[in-house]
Amino acid sequence: MKRTTLLALALAAAPAAAQVPINGAGATFPNIIYQDWMLTYSQTHPDVKLNYQSIGSGGGIRQFSDGTVDFGGTDAPMTDSAIAAIQGNVLHIPTVLGAIVVTYNVPGVTQQLRFTPDVIAGIFLGTITKWNDARITSVNPGVTLPATDIVVVHRADGSGTSFGFTDYLSKVSPEWAQKVGKGTSVSWPVGLGGKGNEGLAATVGQTPGAIGYVELGYATANKMAFGQVQNSAGKFVSPTLEAVTAALAGALAKMGPSTDFRVSLTNPDGANAYPIATMTWLLLHKDYADASKAKALVQFVWWAETEGQGKAPTLGYAPLPAQLRPWIQARLRSITAGGRVAWSGPAAR
C-alpha cells in the first residue's frame, strides 16, 4: 500500500520536473495580490511554477542581491550603494500602489479626524503631546478632543510601511529630515514599538490616546479608525484608491519614458492626491543566466502589469495608470539572458 502511494507520488512528480521554477521573496504589503496573480497565472500557464515568500522588503532585497531568489519584492527602493554592490544588475518594476493611513484611538471621538503635515510631524517628533493641543483642535472644528496624552506607536521591526511614512515626514518636515531621516527602521524620537502590523494595531487599539500608521488595506480589513491628511494643495483628503492614483498622476508629470522607477509618491502635487501614497516594486535582474527562466518570469510580470491590474481594486490596491505601461514594457524588453533578449513581448499599444 505504502509502496504504491510512493510510486504514484513519484509518477505525479515526474511531469513537474519539466516546469520552470521561479522563486521570489520580499515585501509583505503586496503579498495578497502577488499570491492571487500567481494562482490565476498558473491556471493558464501550467509550465511555470511561481513562488513568492513574503519575508519583508529588506529580506527580499538581501535574498535578491545574494541570488537566492529570481526576483525580489520591495516597498522601499534599493539605495544607490546597494545597487552598486550588485554591479547595477537590477531593474525596479512598479506593480501596484497603496496608501499609508494615520490610525488613532482617541476616547470619546467618533468623527474622522483631520491632520496637517505639521501636526503629524509634531506628534511623531514629540513636540505635540496632548490631543487637545491647539494645533490639532484648530483643524478639527466641531470635534471635542480630550486632554489625553498622545502615545505614539511605530513599527518595531523594519518595514516598507515605515519607509513610506518616514519618507513622507522627511518631505514635509525639515526638522524630521535632519533629526531622523527616512528608512525601513529609524531612530524614533518618541513612542512605543509594535511588532508587525498586528502588533502595532493591537497596541493602538489597547492604548487610549494612541496614534500609529498602517497600510490602507490593513486598516480597512480590520475596521481601524483613520484620518484625513492635508495634501500639498491644502485640501484634506481621505485615503481612497482614487486619491492614491491621483497621487501617482501628480508624480507622473515629472517622469519620462527613460525615468528610473524609483520615484517617491509621497507629498505629490494634485488637488485630489492623498499625500502618503506608496509604490511597491518587483526587483528583476537586467541579465539572467537561464534563458527559459528569464522568459517565463518576464512574461508573467507583463501579464501582471496588464491583465493582472484588473484585480487590484477588489484586493485593496490602487492599479497603475495605463500611461506607465509602455515605459514598463520597454524596461522588460531590455532584460537579457546571457546577452540575448529574453522576451520581445507584444507590440506596444
Binding site: I55, G59, G158, L192, G193, G194, A202, T207
Partner: protein, 341 residues
C-alpha cells in the same frame, strides 16, 4: 526537555549531596581495558560525538564574532554602554538592550522565585496527597503554552488590568521612587517582567519540587523531633539541604528569561531607552534581534545585530557557567551546614 533538565538538576543535587555528606565516597570500579575491536570503535564514535557538541558551541561563538567584527572595530567597547540606535545614521549602541535584558530578567526573578518556591514547598510539604500530582501537572502545563500566546494575553488582558487596577495604587504608594515614576502607557518594563515571571514559574517550581522531593524524610523527622514546627523544619532542614538544586532551578529560570523573545517584544514597548522606572518602555536583545534582523540591509546594521547576538550569547553562557559554579560552591558549603545541624 523539561524532563531532561529535571533529571539533570536532581541528579546533580543528589550526587553533590552524597559527596558532601561522605556517605557515598567515590566508588572505584575496575574497568576492563579496550581490547575488543568493537569496543574501540564504539569508544571512538562516542568520543567524536561528545567532542562535537562543545565544538558546535565554539563554532557558533566564532561565527557570531566574525560577522560582528565590522561593528566591533567601528564602535569598540562603547557599543556596550552607548544608547543611540540609529539605522539611518549607521550609529549603533546596545546599552539599552543589555540593560533591558538584565532588568526584565531581574524583575521576573524577583516575582517568580518566591511564587515558584512557595508552590514547590506547598506541594511537597503541606498539600494533601490527592492534590499534589494534579497541581504539579497543571503548573508544568504552564511551560507548554507557546510564548506568543502569553504575548497576546499580555496585550489584551495583563496590560489593561495593570493600567486600570495595579499601576494607580502602585504609583500612589511608590510614585516618589524613581522605579515607579513617569506616565504609564501600558507596554513597559513592568509588563515584560511580569510576563517573563509567569513564563519561568513552571520551570523553577517543577525543578524545585523535584529537588525538595529528593530530600530524605529523615531530615524532616529529625527537625520535627527536635521540636521544630513544620514551617521551621522546612526552613531550617529541608531547604538548606536542597539549596544547590534550588539555585540550579532559579538559574534555569534566569536562562530562559534572558533568551525569551516573542512574549517580551509584544509587551515591553520596544524602545531603545534606559529608564530606572519600570513603568517606562524598554527593549531586550532577543526582542531587537527578532524584530530587526530580517529587514537589516546594510552591512553595518547587520554587523551591529550580530554583535548584539554575540553579547547575548556571552551573557547567557556566563550565567550558565556562574550557575554551575554556584551550585558547586553551595553544595560544598552545604556540607558544613548540614553537619552543624
Amino acid at each position: 526537555m523539561l524532563r531532561g533538565v529535571l533529571f539533570r538538576v536532581r541528579y546533580t543535587a543528589v550526587t553533590a549531596r552524597a559527596k558532601s555528606t561522605g556517605r557515598l565516597s567515590r566508588v572505584s570500579v575496575l574497568l576492563p581495558s579496550f581490547h575488543n575491536r568493537g569496543d574501540r570503535a564504539y569508544r571512538a564514535t562516542l568520543t567524536v560525538l561528545a567532542a562535537l557538541l562543545p565544538l558546535l558551541l565554539v563554532i557558533v561563538a566564532a561565527e557570531l564574532a566574525v560577522r560582528a567584527w565590522p561593528a566591533m572595530q567601528r564602535f569598540g567597547f562603547s557599543f556596550l554602554w552607548t544608547g543611540r540606535w540609529d539605522p539611518v545614521a549607521e550609529v549603533y549602541g546596545a546599552g539599552p538592550l543589555i540593560f533591558g535584558t538584565l532588568m526584565s530578567s531581574l524583575v521576573a526573578l524577583l516575582l517568580a522565585v518566591p511564587l515558584a518556591l512557595g508552590v514547590a514547598i506547598f506541594l511537597t510539604e503541606f498539600a494533601p496527597t490527592w492534590m499534589r500530582q494534579p497541581v504539579a501537572f497543571l503548573v508544568e502545563l504552564l511551560a507548554a503554552v507557546p510564548s506568543v500566546v502569553y504575548g497576546v494575553w499580555g496585550i489584551f488582558v495583563l496590560i489593561p488590568f495593570l493600567r486600570a487596577h495595579a499601576v494607580p495604587p502602585l504609583k500612589a504608594a511608590l510614585g516618589w521612587t524613581p522605579f515607579f515614576s513617569g506616565v504609564f502607557y501600558g507596554n513597559s518594563m513592568l509588563a515584560g517582567g511580569i510576563i517573563l515571571a509567569i513564563m519561568i514559574v513552571p520551570y523553577i517550581a517543577a525543578v524545585s519540587r523535584e529537588v525538595l522531593l529528593a530530600v530524605p524524610g529523615s531530615q524532616r523527622e529529625a527537625a520535627l523531633g527536635l521540636g521544630a514546627t513544620r514551617w521551621e523544619a522546612v526552613w531550617s532542614a529541608v531547604l538548606p539541604y536542597g539549596r544547590a538544586g534550588v539555585i540550579g532551578a532559579v538559574m534555569l529560570g534566569l536562562g530562559r528569561a534572558l533568551g525569551e523573545t516573542m512574549a517580551v517584544t509584544m509587551v515591553i514597548g520596544n524602545r531603545h531607552d534606559i529608564s530606572a522606572s519600570l513603568l517606562q518602555p524598554g527593549y531586550t536583545m532577543a526582542a531587537a534581534l527578532a524584530n530587526e534582523f530580517s529587514e537589516a540591509t546594510t552591512g553595518m546594521y547587520l554587523a551591529a545585530l550580530f554583535e548584539v547576538g554575540f553579547v547575548l550569547f556571552v551573557i547567557t553562557v556566563s550565567v550558565n557557567a556562574l550557575a554551575r559554579l554556584l551550585v558547586w560552591r553551595v553544595a560544598r558549603g552545604g556540607a558544613a551546614g548540614s553537619r552543624a545541624l
